[in-house]
């Protein structure tokens, strides 16, 4: 329904013209609608001399009974005009519409006017051309959240409708899930009353008729949503179609001579000054007045009016097209929504971006395209806008038909008429790509930050003057500082004081040397401890000037590993070179020195060479054993072995050495010991190592004892004891390290490899046994091997 407005006569006339224009546009829009093909023939039979036109007594402004019971309206005049043209009598009988339909079906009525539906087209003969086009509307009470704008969106409504009206036919024809609850009334007026009194939530019918009845009833505010335009036809029964061919011809001729347009102007004007037109009488009066004016103005006025209409239409079209073009071709997404959020208009860019076509958008609301993540935010925005709030730039996420997330940014404005919001418009810019780039940048930043934070090396950045700008967690840890403690301090706190003092330009030199190169320096921990670092610097520039970034590694550990490696190589080298020195020297002297005095010296040199050769062999064997043990590749040939045999063999092995040293050997094996599961050769090797060791340090005349006893856990313990100088407590832990020949003053000089005890421990452990040592300075040393019983 046209909103109530007040205006001068000029404005009213203009609106009148636009009203007519609107009707013309609607008619044009409906022109494509199918209609029953005309049942014409070149030799049409004559019409019966008297016909009955049946109509609806309450279907203004098309057909109705006025207060005096006179039939009036567009259809009535049309039928009368046709009767005149055809020279027949047509009686007009207006009743309640259902009654008229019943009479029509009983052939008591020859002619009716019907809006087109497929069902009616099948059942009746709808004469062509159509007489007019009916705009159908759904009318609601205001204050709803949404106003469905299609018949198939009314399923949750209770819809009042005129019985046997085209809208009832159409609603009835909907699939069950889309069909609303229907209340049928004998007139549209009664249907409207059902809406007003709350019986129905919507009424569906002809918009002009409903508007008329609403004004009649004095209902101030209703929301009318156009849903459909349907063709309006003079209709007869199928079996009489041929007989009415002449009527159809007359109708076509009447239309061609603008007769129908004149009837439109007389009857189908849209009232624009409702308050004065509350009374049907005044409506009629003004209608008559308008009609009179039009008639008085006659053809000239009509021409002038239609020229005016044409000109204004052209102007409007131009201006519309200009803006339409602008909207349509804008790259931004432009949308206009009604207060319920339903789309009134969206531009091409909008359709393209969101992937919908125009048809689909018609049934959609703004909230259908809002991404679920953004829904609450958008609902709040929508509410704020509707509360009259001016809101700044907004950002939201939409979701395309294909499910793609689309981020938009833009502005929202409202259109208000008489302080009432009628539309919400928004212009959005698709910022998805930017958003994605921003997200990617943020993610990449977070990744870099995490990488820098978690990397094991230290990373520090300095400004040109050497102030620490940033330092990562590893950097802080390396230098022993708390998080954040170093930022802002001068980098010299990380440099040993000696270096700081030695050269005021130290830093510059350090930077110069370390730029682009990995260099080694000394750093200073918070505790003051100096430690080796590896440092490389690079220079970078940003908006705030020149900076240095330094990558720092604490190489204390690496230095220690290097030191141990060097020490190992050095020791091995020393151990091999020492016997070789004697061998080489002895051989050179034997071969080249004729002056060597007697056989005594010659023999002595040969013995030196031989002894050192054997020493070399021992060293090589020991080193191979160590390598095998460390690699876990010692191959044990285990078998059940009596402990007594192990002891006896070991003692035999060292008897000669003991005799040479003047040391006694005592074997003390307990009775009834269990056998052990060992590689006898390897276990003897372990025991011989311990015995040799003991013999080195046992004072002349003392005894070295090897004893075998039952162990507490059921196994066997073998012990080797000497009465030597003992081992200081602090050095016990070093005993089993490689190449650790403890300096035990007073000990007999022996050619140890420094590998005997590490090998012994390795052998015992490979057997699943345990070795330990107890010693006290001055009281001797005892090594114990504990093995499980076999």
């Amino acid at each position: 329904m046209t909103p109530a407005t007040r205006g001068g006569v000029g404005a009213a006339a203009r609106r009148l013209a636009f009203g007519a224009l609107a009707l013309v546009v609607c008619a044009a829009a409906a022109a494509g609608q199918p209609a029953t093909p005309p049942a014409t023939s070149t030799e049409a039979p004559p019409l019966p001399p008297r016909l009955v036109y049946g109509g609806d007594r309450a279907f203004p402004p098309f057909e109705y009974l006025d207060d005096n019971g006179q039939a009036r309206g567009f259809n009535v005049e049309l039928v009368r005009a046709l009767a005149e043209r055809l020279g027949v009598r047509i009686d007009v009988e207006l009743r309640a519409w259902p009654e008229t339909v019943a009479r029509f079906d009983r052939h008591e009525v020859d002619l009716v006017s019907m809006a087109y539906s497929d069902l009616r087209a099948e059942r009746y003969a709808l004469l062509v051309p159509r007489t007019w086009t009916l705009d159908q509307a759904v009318v609601f009470r205001p204050g709803r959240r949404t106003y469905p704008n299609r018949l198939d969106l009314l399923q949750s409504e209770t819809v009042a409708v005129e019985d046997l009206s085209v809208m009832q036919v159409l609603l009835d024809g909907l699939p069950e899930v889309q069909r609303p609850a229907l209340l049928a009334f004998e007139s549209q007026r009664a249907a409207l009353d059902a809406l007003v009194n709350g019986q129905a939530t919507a009424v569906v019918g002809n918009s002009l008729t409903l508007g008329y009845w609403a004004r009649q009833a004095g209902v101030e505010r209703l929301v009318s949503v156009p849903v459909k335009s349907v063709a309006y036809h003079l209709t007869t029964q199928k079996d009489r179609a041929a007989a009415f061919a002449r009527l159809a011809d007359a109708l076509a001729a009447f239309r061609d001579s603008d007769g129908i347009d004149r009837l439109v102007e007389r009857h189908l004007v849209v009232p624009t000054r409702d308050p004065e037109w509350h009374q049907y009488a005044s409506y009629l009066g003004i209608s008559a007045l308008v009609a009179a004016v039009l008639l008085v103005g006659a053809v000239g006025w009509n021409r002038s009016l239609s020229r005016q209409v044409e000109r204004r239409t052209a102007e409007l079209r131009d201006s519309e097209e200009r803006y339409r073009d602008l909207f349509e071709h804008a790259n931004d997404l432009i949308q206009s929504m009604d207060p319920g959020g339903r789309y009134l208009f969206v531009n091409r860019s909008w359709l393209r971006t969101l992937g919908y076509d125009e048809e689909e958008v018609r049934g959609m609301t703004f909230f259908d395209v809002v991404h679920p993540d953004s829904l609450q935010h958008c609902q709040r925005l929508f509410a704020r806008v509707h509360a009259g709030e001016q809101i700044g730039p907004v950002r939201a996420d939409f979701v395309s038909k294909a499910g793609r997330r689309i981020t938009v940014e833009g502005s929202v404005s409202v259109k208000a008429v008489d302080g009432r919001i009628v539309a919400t418009r928004a212009i959005f810019h698709d910022v998805t790509a930017r958003q994605m780039a921003e997200d990617a940048l943020r993610a990449s930043e977070a990744r870099s930050r995490s990488l820098i934070h978690n990397m094991l090396g230290g990373l520090i950045t300095l400004d040109e003057r050497g102030s620490i700008e940033t330092i990562n967690a590893s950097g802080e840890r390396i230098f022993g500082y708390e998080p954040g403690e170093l930022v802002g301090q001068h980098v010299s706190v990380l440099i040993p004081e000696t270096l700081r003092a030695s050269s005021p330009t130290f830093l510059q030199e350090a930077f110069r040397e370390a730029i682009g190169r990995v260099t080694e320096w000394e750093g200073r921990r918070k505790s003051g401890r100096v430690f080796p670092i590896e440092l490389s610097f690079f220079e970078f520039h940003d908006g705030s000037g020149r900076h240095f970034a330094g990558s720092i590694r604490d190489i204390s550990e690496r230095r220690e590993v290097d030191r141990l490696k060097n020490e190992f190589v050095s020791t091995v080298s020393h151990e091999l070179r020492t016997p070789l020195t004697s061998i080489k020297g002895a051989m050179q002297l034997l071969l080249h020195d004729e002056s060597l005095a007697g056989a005594g010296e010659l023999k002595q040199l040969v013995a030196v060479a031989l002894n050192n050769t054997e020493r070399l062999i021992r060293i090589v064997n020991d080193m191979l054993d160590v390598a095998k043990i460390e690699a876990g590749k010692l191959n044990l040939q285990r078998r059940r072995t009596a402990v007594g045999d192990l002891v006896r063999t070991s003692v035999q092995n060292v008897e000669q050495i003991a005799r040479g040293a003047g040391v006694g050997l005592v074997a003390d094996v307990a009775d009834g010991l269990p056998a052990v599961d060992v590689d006898p050769d390897r276990m003897v090797q372990a025991l011989v190592n311990l015995l040799s060791n003991a013999l080195k340090f046992a004072p002349e005349g003392s005894d070295v004892t090897i004893a075998a006893r039952r162990a507490a856990g059921g196994g066997v313990t073998l012990s080797v004891s000497d009465r030597g100088p003992g081992i200081p407590a602090g050095e016990v832990s070093r005993l089993f390290e490689k190449f650790q020949q403890l300096d035990r003053g007073g000990g007999r000089r022996m050619y140890g490899t420094g590998l005997g005890l590490p090998i012994t421990r390795g052998l015992v452990e490979q057997h699943g046994g345990r070795i330990d040592v107890s010693s006290a300075p001055g009281e001797g040393t005892t090594f114990r091997i504990t093995l499980a019983g076999a």
């Binding site: 080298s573 020393h574 004697s582 002895a586 002595q604 040199l605 030196v608 300096d743 000089r749």
Partner: protein, 122 residues
């Protein structure tokens, strides 16, 4: 009489071989087993030079050298390392400590005397 060498060496076999080689080259040689023994006897022995092993019990070569350098009487006494320590950094360290020369074992018994003389002649 030739120059008197005080030699510290803990390996008896090397003592034998080096002693023969040096005496044959005309040196007078006094052998000691450790650095400590060398320090004890240096006052009486009054050697012209010292041959010093590196790895010895009680007091090793470098420490012995440091002690000789600390003492006014022995500060300028020529000291030559004769050792199986053969890596570059070890030679470097030995010379840095103030040794006049560095002979790596196994040495050449036939030319050992000439090597010592060459070092002294520098």
């Amino acid at each position: 009489m030739g120059l008197h060498i005080l030699m510290a060496e803990d390996d008896p076999d090397i003592q034998l071989v080096a002693g023969l080689a040096l005496r044959k080259a005309g040196f007078t040689v006094t052998m000691v087993n450790t650095g400590m023994e060398l320090l004890r006897r240096i006052g009486d022995a009054k050697p012209d030079l010292v041959l010093l092993d590196w790895m010895m019990p009680e007091l090793d070569g470098p420490d012995t050298l440091a002690r000789l350098r600390e003492d006014e009487a022995t500060r300028d006494l020529p000291v030559i390392f004769m050792t199986a320590k053969s890596q570059g950094f070890e030679v470097e360290r030995g010379l840095k400590l103030g040794a006049k020369g560095y002979i790596i074992k196994p040495f050449d018994a036939l030319t050992l005397g000439d090597q010592v003389k060459a070092i002294l002649g520098r």
